[in-house]
C-alpha cells in the first residue's frame, strides 16, 4: 500500500481494530494473489471491501478466517494473531461464504443441530426467529433451496452464533436488485441489533453505498484506498474537453497543480477527459479554461478511476 490516499485514510482510526491486516502476501507457487494487503476494521463499523472480480477479496477473507495460510505479513483478529487459536476466533465470527456449500440432505433444523455444537454462544431461538423472518422452511431439505434462500440461511446461521464480527464474502452475488437490497437491509439491521462489526466484500458499488461506513478498495492484491466513501468521492473530479479543442499538455486550469495524482487521462466519446485526485478534496467551483467542463461522477466512476490507476 504505497499511495498517499490510503495512507491518509488509515490514520483515521475510530476504535480498537477487530480485524487488522498488515502487508499480507499470498502466493500459490509463482502466482501472486495478494502482494501487500493492509486494512483495519474497527469495532462496530460496517466495512465494505471493494474490488474487481479476481482482485483477491475471497483469498483475503479466507485468510482472515484462518482457512488459507498467509505467505507473508500478519493478520490479527480481536487483537490476536490468526496463527494462534483460530478456532476460538472463529467462534466469535459469523461467516457467510460467497457460495453456500451446505449439506443438501440436511434441513435447516438439522443444520442447526449439527452446527450449534461448534459455537458456545449459539442462540437457537434467534435461529428459529430468523428462519421465520426470512421465511425459510425449517423442515425442507437445503438441496431444494434457491441461491437466495441459501444465502439467507447462511446469514441466519451466522447471526445465530451471536457473532462479535460478521464476515460476508460477496453475499449478494447472483441476487436480483430487490433481493439484494432486502438482504443488505437485513444484514445491516440484524448486525446492528447484535452490535456486531461487519466486514463484507463486494464488487458492487450499490452494496457499499447502501450500508458501508468505511471501505477498502483492493486491486491486484493490494489496498489502493481505505477510508470513508464520501471523502473518496469528494477527492476525485473529472474534467473534459472536446477533441477538436484539445491540444497535448492542455489542462482545465491552474488549480490542477493542487492535485495529488492523475487517475485517468484519455479520450472517451469524442472528448478528452482528465480524472484528478486531490488530497484535501476537489475544488467546489474551480475556474476552468476555455472549452473545459467538469463532469458529474457517479460512485462507480470514482471506483473505476481508482482501480484503473492501480491497475
Amino acid at each position: 500500500m504505497s499511495n498517499t490516499i490510503a495512507d491518509a485514510a488509515i490514520s483515521a482510526d475510530s476504535g480498537s481494530p477487530v480485524i487488522l491486516l498488515d502487508n499480507v502476501h499470498k502466493h500459490y507457487g509463482p502466482l501472486n494473489v495478494l502482494t501487500g494487503l493492509s486494512l483495519q476494521v474497527n469495532k462496530g463499523e460496517v466495512y465494505g471491501f471493494l474490488g474487481r472480480n479476481g482482485a483477491g477479496k475471497s483469498t483475503a477473507i479466507r485468510m482472515i478466517m484462518g482457512i488459507t495460510k498467509i505467505s507473508r505479513g500478519s493478520i490479527e483478529l480481536f487483537g490476536h494473531s490468526v496463527k494462534g487459536d483460530v478456532i476460538a476466533a472463529r467462534q466469535r465470527i459469523g461467516y457467510v461464504a460467497q457460495e453456500q456449500h451446505f449439506y443438501p440432505w440436511m434441513t435447516p433444523k438439522q443444520l442447526s443441530k449439527f452446527v450449534r455444537g461448534f459455537y458456545p454462544r449459539w442462540d437457537q431461538s434467534r435461529f428459529d426467529d430468523l428462519l421465520s423472518l426470512f421465511e425459510l422452511p425449517a423442515k425442507r431439505k437445503i438441496g431444494n433451496f434457491s441461491g437466495g434462500m441459501k444465502a439467507k440461511l447462511a446469514l441466519t446461521m451466522a447471526l445465530a452464533t451471536k457473532p462479535e464480527c460478521l464476515i460476508l464474502d460477496e453475499p449478494t452475488a447472483g441476487m436480483d436488485p430487490v433481493a439484494r437490497r432486502e438482504f443488505l437491509d437485513l444484514v445491516s439491521e440484524e448486525a446492528r441489533r447484535a452490535e456486531a462489526t461487519i466486514f463484507f466484500s463486494t464488487h458492487l458499488i450499490d452494496d457499499i453505498e447502501a450500508i458501508a461506513d468505511r471501505i477498502g478498495i483492493v486491486e491486484s492484491g493490494q489496498t489502493v484506498y481505505e477510508g470513508g466513501l464520501k471523502p473518496l468521492s469528494e477527492s476525485i473530479a473529472s474534467y473534459s474537453i472536446s477533441e477538436e479543442l484539445y491540444r497535448p499538455g492542455n489542462v482545465p486550469g491552474e488549480f490542477v497543480n493542487t492535485a495529488a495524482s492523475v487517475l485517468q487521462d484519455g479520450t472517451r466519446n469524442g472528448r478528452h477527459s482528465l480524472v484528478l485526485q486531490f488530497p484535501y478534496g476537489a475544488p467546489k467551483s474551480p475556474i476552468l479554461d476555455y472549452g473545459w467542463q467538469q463532469d458529474a461522477m457517479t460512485l462507480e466512476d470514482v471506483f473505476i478511476s481508482v482501480v484503473a490507476r492501480a491497475g
Binding site: M65, Q91, H101, F102, G117
Partner: protein, 636 residues
Amino acid sequence: MGGYNFFMKDVREHGLSFFVLGLGFFLVLLVVFEQQRSGVFSMSGFEVVRFSLITVIPLVTFIVGNRLIVREYVGGTRRFVESLPINRFTPLLVKYFIGLVFIVALALLMVWFAAATASAAENITPRYLQLLLMKTGVIALLYWSVVFFVSFTGRIRLVIYVVMGLTLMYFVNMPNFDETRFAPLAIMERTLFVFERDILPVQDLIETAVLALLFVIAGFSLALFNEGSIAEQLGKPISKRDMAAFALLGMGCLTVYTTLQKKWETETYALSGEYVLRSEVPVLAVSYIDDAYKARAQQVLDSLRVAVETFKTDIGLDRLPQVQIALNTELESGEIEPELIDGVLVSANFTDYDSYEIAQLNAVAMHHLLLSLTNRRWDYESRHWILDGLSRWWIEGADSAPASSNNKELLARALVAKRRFYLQKNPLLEWQTTSDLHGFEGGDALSYSALLYLQEIKGTETILRLAAEYINEDVGSSSIESVQRLIESDENRFEQITGVDIQTFTDDWISWLDQYKSDNEVAVRLNSVPKITGKVVSVIGESGVVKLEAQYRAMQDYDGLGDGLCVLRYQLTSAFDMETSIYERNRDKQPCAVEGIAHSVESPFAPGDRVYAVVEFETDSFHRPLIMWSGRLHVK
C-alpha cells in the same frame, strides 16, 4: 465436541446406506455360502471368506470411501466444514474411523458367520478362528487405508485404482516371481489363508499393518497439504481434457500390459540336448535321457505324430502348438504331469510303457493340445467329456478303434465305472463328479466309449463336426455376441450337431455299453473286478495318532473278491479341493475283504485336516488300478 458432532452427522448421513450395504453384503455372502454348500466339492467354509476378501469387500470399501470422502469433496461441502470452528484434522479422523470400524466389523462378522456355517462340518478351534480373524482384520484395515488415501485423489482415483490393479496383476503374473512371499499377498496365499490353523504370520501381519499406516499418512498428508488445495483441485468434476489424458494413459497401460504379457508368453521351454527326438511337422519333441529308452521314445513320437498329423488334416487346422514329452524317471509309471508351457509339455516316466500306456500318455498330450488350441475354453464342465473322449478316441485311431485291444480294456473299465452310475443323474453332464468318482482313467474310458457309440450311430463325420464346433468356436465379435454364445447351452449345441438329445443319447449309450458285458475279452476283464465299494473314515488311535480305516461292502450281484489287491491311497486336499488323482505315494495294499476293516493306517494328519481318500483295485487284467470309492473326509 466437534468430533462427536461430525460423527453424528456422518452417522445420520450414511447410516442407512451403510446398513443397506451391510445387508446386501450378507445377502451376497449367503448366496456364495449356499453355492459353496451345494457345490460338487465341499470346500472349507472359510474359502468363502477369502473369496469375499478378494472380491466383495474391496467393492464395499470402495463404495464406503466414495460416500464418506469423495462426496464431501465433489459436492463442495468440505468448504462449509473448513469454515467451522474446528481443525482440519478432526473431521478426517472421524471419517477414517467410521470407515475403518464399518469395514473391519463387516469383515470380522463375515468370519464369524463363516465359522458358524463351517462348524457343522469342521472342527473350528479358537486358535484357528483367532488366526482367521486377525488375518481378515488386517486385510480389511489395509483395504480401507488404501481407499481412504485414494479417495482424496478425486477424479483421478479410478485411474489410480486401475494402475494399482495392473501393478498387482503384473507381479502376480510375473514369471519367476513368487508374490506370496511378500505381505499382504503372503497373508492371502490361497492355501495358508484358509487352512493354516496354528502359525500366526506375525511378520506378514505387521508388514501389512505398516503398509496400511503408510497409506493413512499419505491420505492425511494429501488432504491437509497446502491447505487441502490439492485434494480440492482433484475433487473437481472430470473435464474433457482429463478424459483425454485418462484415455491416453489407459491406452499406454494396455500397451505396456500387452507387451509384458507377450513377453511372458514367449518365455520358452524347449527340450534340448542330444537325447531328444523331434518331428518338424507337426512340431513334436520327445526326450529320453538315455539310449536305452530311445526306442520307447521313438514309439511315443511315432504314435503321436500320426495322431496329430491326421487330426490337423481332418479338422482342417492351419497350425498346431508344439507338443513336448519329457522323460522323467523320478515319476512313477502311472504319473503323467501335463502343463501348458510354450505349447504342451507332458512329463512322464514311459521307460516301461506298452502300447496301452503310450496311448494313454499321448491321449493326455492330445487333451492338452486341444485345451491350448481353445485357450482352455474346452475346459468347462458341460463340454469336458467331449474333450476327454475325443483325445482318447483319436489316439486310439478313431475309425479303426473298435478293433484295437486297448478298446476292450477301455470298455471294460467303463463298465466297471458304470456300476456306480446310480450316484449321478447324467454322468456326461456332471463330468466333474464323474472324474472325481472314477479318476481320470475312468473318465477317459467312459467318454471314449460314449464317442465310440456316437461314431456307431452317427458316423465319424459327426464327431469331427462336434470337435470342430469347439475348436473353431467363435467367442463373438462383441460382448453381446459373447454373452449369446455363453447362453447357448452345450446340450443344445450337442443336439444341433448330432441330432440327438443329450439325455436320450446318454441313456442309449449306457444300454449300448451293457452289450459289451457279453464280449469275451471284456467279460474276462470285468469279472476280475469284484463288485464292491468302499468307505474310508478317520479315527484317533490309542496313541493319539489319526488313523485312516477303510472297509468294503458288497454291491448288487456280488460274486467274490476277484484276483487282485485292494489299495488305500490318500492325501491332504489342496485349498480348492479339486483332486481327481492322488499325487502322494502313500499306499496300503491289502487283500480285499468285505467283512471288517480292510485297511488301518496311521496317517500324518491332524484333527481339522481335510483328506482326499481313494480305494482302488489292482489286477493284472487292467493296466491301471480301478477306483472302487473316492471321497473327502474331515479329520475330527
